[in-house]
Symmetry: C3
């Protein structure tokens, strides 16, 4: 990219996405882009590299451009920045490396095209239009109100072992009543495949430091979502929970 756009300022969001984990990549990108300056974002999480999945670029409402594979990894982030304004297939070989390989699109296709776009090349030069509705979708599963509680999904387990849920405090309050600091909440992970059911009662807590070391809690995470943590410990380790697990929350007040 620097060979093409010498003055580009490159920010490395993460090289630590679990290999082949498109949903983890989609989550990390979605959680990071609102805090980044408007720019050109290159993304590769790509178990299908070299297959028929298309290389694409998306222009979104905030003004950013995403460059990456059409496997869904870009979609939640594009939605978070106002939605797709224009989508194109990467076809212009003059903007790619002279010899592109079958397996390294990040280096041979995505990065050079991002460099040219960062340098001001018009978006329409990357290739022909594709209707956004024809792109591979990826949606985070919406939370559901059920039986006086809320059912949702584990979106991500971070490196602390905090369990990020796809639901906001407002979703939970709408389903289970208003939340006050210290309120007990029953968290249930139903049995799923070979994984046994897990049930724990935890307080709703504004911060970690209010609780003894080793205590579990439900808190508001950096993305505005509900998350389970253990103060200075790993909630995911303690509860044996992974991304994609279904979870139900309801009030633990008698």
């Amino acid at each position: 990219m620097l060979s093409i756009a010498r003055d580009a300022q490159i920010v490395d969001i993460s090289h630590s996405v679990r290999k082949f984990a498109i949903r983890d990549g989609a989550y990390l990108l979605w959680s990071a882009v609102p805090w980044l300056p408007v720019g050109v974002h290159v993304v590769v999480v790509d178990p299908g590299v070299g297959t028929d999945r298309l290389p694409i670029a998306l222009r979104v409402a905030r003004g950013d451009i995403f460059v990456g594979p059409d496997n869904g990894v870009l979609m939640p982030a594009a939605a978070a920045l106002g939605g797709i304004v224009e989508a194109r297939v990467l076809e212009n070989r003059a903007l790619m490396l002279p010899r592109t390989t079958a397996t390294v699109h990040g280096r041979d296709v995505f990065a050079p095209i991002a460099g040219h776009l960062a340098k001001g090349r018009p978006f329409e030069e990357v290739g022909s239009l594709i209707a956004p509705g024809r792109l591979v979708g990826l949606e985070f599963p919406a939370p559901l109100a059920v039986d006086g509680g809320l059912e949702t999904t584990v979106l991500f387990v971070d490196s602390f072992g905090n369990i990020r849920l796809f639901a906001t405090p407002a979703d939970l309050a709408a389903a289970a009543g208003p939340l006050q600091a210290g309120d007990p909440l029953v968290v249930e992970f139903p049995a799923q495949g070979e994984r046994p059911a897990v049930r724990e009662t935890v307080p709703w807590s504004r911060t970690f430091g209010d609780l003894p070391i080793g205590s579990p809690l439900l808190y508001l995470d950096s993305s505005g979502l509900l998350a389970l943590a253990v103060n200075q410990g790993s909630a995911a380790g303690r509860m044996g929970i992974e991304t994609g697990r279904r979870v139900r929350l309801h009030s633990g007040r008698p």
Copy 2:
């Protein structure tokens, strides 16, 4: 930070500090800042985020500014750059993100304030003065001359397993006599909690490569401190030693 100070040059010193390990963070910062250009340094190692500990900024004698939590992590580095000239509590919400969260001060408070300071905003605008003496202290324990030897503490175990001690060769020479290459030194870690005592005799050595692979040695590390290593191995692994362990050194000459 780049959204605020577009031309800032951001250097990532480390994202690998052990979680919740304030002393490790303080050590790494202290060991790095003398080699960095004068700048604004943002620091987060923060098990107490969201509790009552203050967000602060420190201006030091060399001209640098530190932005981070008042939990001691900034103090050794501030001392290494000539000491605190002025300390302020971060209060000016106009310099923070519009919606600050309880748990992500690094992103919502420290980083944007650092961006504004890097762009030239006067230091006094961040918030009101606090007396440096009221800040949470963190001192590395001083070495002591005892019985013809030196007693000190393990300051840090690096990723090679090298054991960094808080004492200089001058401290050791003052306590145990002058050092010459190859001189034998007896290193004793007294039993501590459930950890058994460890005792080993190692040569004082200018370099690693002088010794056979697998040999232990005492050497002068990159920060000017004494350190224990095993050539192409892990001294901490071999000896079972962690940060904070007390250690005694004395001459092994007959």
Copy 3:
């Protein structure tokens, strides 16, 4: 480096080379430099730091300069950029940090000299000439045609567990006949030391995604070399293979 060359743009290729692994460092550097802009490259993989091995700088045909230890780590990359035009020993203390330590040449010698060179200091000022033929060599072992097949070496195992071989598809085709997608190839790792022999038949495949998850394959890697992989798995883990292992490939067609 930024203290000396304030406008330098620093690209971190890798800080994840296995400790003391000169060959791994040489491979990563060799595989990266063709894709980088012409620049000054600082390299440290250095189990012998502080011994008699020389600190050197190499000017190569493409116009780049390498700064690092004379232990062979720079040699394949220098060859890939057209070969050494001029080699010098780092002797000019005015271009180093005022107090250089015995064990931290990366910080005290290589980085400041690279900063001065990046800022435009003439190459001849770093120190006196040394004949390239007197430098420590490091060559990747050449592939050999044997008995209707090809014998070569494992050059590197990447973080996916892909096994990179030092041979191109052209080498294999010359030894074992032309390659077509799906052609079966017999891969044999003879017993070596305590490691048992391993033998597996894998297809030659243009991409990963063409095959079921868990299937092994031989493919063309990002450096133009043959590599063994398992689709969404670790070939090195499955086959128990490490860098340096000898390997034979021949056609599996009846």
